[in-house]
Structures are given as C-alpha cells and as structure tokens.
Amino acid sequence: MAITVRTFEKLGDAASAVMSDRGARFLAGGTLVMRAINEGDVAITTIVRTSDPALTQIRTAGARIELGAGVTMAQILANRDLAFLHPAARIVGGPAVRNMATVGGNLFAHAPYGDFTAALLALGATVSVSGGYSASDTPLDEFLSARDRGGTRGLVASVTLARPAAPDAFRFRKVSRVKPKGIAVLSIAALLPVAGGRIAGARVAYNGLSPAPMRARGVERALEGRSLDEAGIAPAIAACAEGISPSDDAIASAWYRREILPVHLKRLLLGQA
C-alpha cells in the first residue's frame, strides 16, 4: 500500500502532523522506520519528515552540549569536541548505518538497540520535546519511562548534556559477538567523577539488560566514596544485577547476559581492555 509522505520546514509543524494522525510516523535516519515499511507494517500510513536545519545542529560552545535530534552518529564521530562520545557512536552499526542513524531515533530504538541512549543516560542528558506535553527539558530517565508507557507526545528537538570533567571520567563498553560490528549482548556506560581519589556522584547505565536502557542504581550507590581498585569496586560488582531483566534473544540468553555482566563491569571500572 502506498504511503503518504509529508515534509515540513519546521519541526513544530511536523510534530503537529504526527500528533494529529495515528498512522503517521516521523522519519529521521529511517534505519528502523524503513525497515518496518519494508517488512509491510500496515500501521504506518503516513511518513512525516522535516527539513528544519535546527535538528542537525551540534552546539559545543558552552558548558552544556546540545545535540539536535537529527544529528547522525557519523556527525558525532566527525566532531573533535565530542571525542568522549566517540566510543558510543562508533559502535552503532557499520559505516552506512552510522551515516543514517540519528540521536533522536536511538531514543526510540528497542533493546538490544539503544546503545547510544545508554551513554546519554549515564551522562545525565535531558531531552527537549517540540509539541509534546512538556516544553522544558525532561531528564532522559523520565523520558524513557514515559516512552515505555506510550506516553511520549510530540517530537524530540534535541538532547543536552554536560561535558565530563575529565576525559577518563566517562567510559563506555559494548559487548557483541560479531566483531567489529554486531548487535549488543549488552553495553555499559559509566560517568565516574573523582574527588580526592574517591568516586563522587557516579552514574552508570546499561543497555540490553531491560526493555529500555536503565540506570544501574545499585552500582552507583556502591561506588559512592570508593576508589577504582579491586577492593573499592567489589561492592559495586556484587550489586551489578540489581534491577536488570534481561531477555533471551538470538544474540544471547538472559542467563549469559547475567553471567558476563560482572566481568565486563569490572573491566570497565578498572580501565582494563
């Protein structure tokens, strides 16, 4: 069945079009939407696009970094100011996928996809929505909960995050079976601010261990005030499975995911390869 394609100059108009038509789907890079169409998803009757240049802008000048929702993984990799995000952007698909896959689309990708979103979650990103219930910035944790309740309305305009204080304060690891590119068995992102040799205010996020990227709050609590050595991280490793609900899929069983999580969390925290 042919689909109607509607292209708007302004994101706000595109948001109105999506909200007023149940069969409308916003198209960003299209790596998930076009896949659904190719598979014959009859629920999509209208594709909504926008040529709004604001959507593809990256702002790195101030203390906070703003990424337009239409910024691709390739754009992030081409930006030297965003070097701390490169490990998370580099592992999204192969080069062709990265030229298409956007930050905004990643926020709606379901597990095991959503690796970049896990990085944003650890970095404490907020989401700015156009046309939705809230005009102001929403913490990504809340946004993802709303997403899973089907409660996100409008279109994402941008995500905003603070640059980590030190280059080594943000760490990211994706575990996949196919190298160098493969779907995640799991991925882990950690913001590890250190004050006086001790962790202060860690944020740790997982992808692939629950329906949406999640905070590892048990790990965060256990890291507080500890040092990043074998003894210091032991309570965090013991708490690593708190709150996870991994699934069996073609990539790995839930059991396997649980088994390897402490191994990879330990390597990440100790800075091992």
């Binding site: 042919a2 689909i3 109607t4 394609v5 292209t7 198209l27 299209g30 790596t31 076009m34 896949r35 169409i37 190719n38 598979e39 999509i44 594709i47 696009r49 390739a74 698909g93 192969g94 080069p95 062709a96 996928v97 030229n99 298409m100 160098p180 590119k181």
Partner: protein
C-alpha cells in the same frame, strides 16, 4: 495514490523518476532506473549488499526513502567503470579472487570506494571497519580485504 517525481544525479547523469510514497531508493534504482547493480538481500539494513554512495558517503539504499535523495548525488557500482576500463577496485577484486558468487560484491565495492576516496592509504584495520556492515557468505573476507589493500597499494598503502 499519486506518484512523486524525484530528481537526482545517478552515476553522474541527471535523472528524474516517479516513485510511490514510501518507496525505498533500492527499488527505485532497480525498477525505476534499471540499475540492478545494488542488490536486494535483506531489506533490513543487515547485509550491506544494497550499499550506495549518497553525496560520497555510504548509505543503505533499502533503508533510504527515495524522496530523500532529491537534488543529491547517488553512485552505484554500475558507475564505477569508465567505458571498457574497470575501476582499480574492480581490477583488484578480480586479481585477488574477492568475488565468488558475487552477490555481496556491488556493496563491498561501494563501501571500499567510500573508504579510499576519503582515506587513500588505509590500514588493514580501517579496511575491516569500512566493510563491517557488509556480509559475505563465500570468501571469508580475507580476499576482499586484500583486494582493497591492493587497490590502495597502487597509491602506497600503509601496512598495520
């Protein structure tokens, strides 16, 4: 349902083609323009056999809405040759037995072209990364990697 006219550059020539709403670029190239170089493998972005260059960068044509290439340049493996002369990558693929059934070859060539256009002297690791979105079920990849390095080697590849 009405069709939409899409104009773009296809292997250096201006073309216009009518597309149905929701049509992907792969089917537009194959059925609308008769360019059967990009293949249909999975339609899901997984195999890379439909890889084309849009404004010089690799994209999966099966996941590209045809209308999004209006006014842009699309290159496929069909445009690599220059009259009777093959592209150095095509020569290298032949010389290194980098094609067996040949189904992955058009996508591999375009992924490799995107790499060499940007980075004429890639390392082996960079070649592996460049074709990481392209699946080959025949060759075991080694001959393909060697062919790409050899094509670059005519310009002096770094070994790493």
């Amino acid at each position: 349902m009405s069709k939409t006219a899409v104009q773009f550059r296809h292997n250096g020539s201006d073309v216009a083609v009518f597309v149905d709403g929701g049509a992907n670029l792969l089917m537009t190239l194959r059925e609308g323009l008769g360019d059967t170089a990009p293949k249909y493998g999975c339609g899901q972005g997984t195999c890379g056999v439909c890889t084309v260059l849009i404004d010089g960068e690799p994209h999966l044509s099966c996941l590209t809405l045809a209308e999004t290439v209006a006014g842009r340049s699309v290159e496929t493996a069909d445009g690599l040759k220059n009259g009777p002369d093959l592209h150095p990558l095509q020569d290298a693929f032949m010389d290194h037995f980098a094609a067996q059934c040949g189904f992955c070859t058009p996508g591999m060539l375009m992924a490799a072209k995107a790499l060499l256009d940007r980075n004429p002297q890639p390392t082996r690791e960079e070649v592996v990364e460049a074709i990481s979105g392209n699946i080959c079920r025949c060759t075991g990849y080694e001959p393909i990697i060697n062919a790409i390095l050899a094509a670059a080697g005519t310009r002096g590849a770094r070994r790493a």
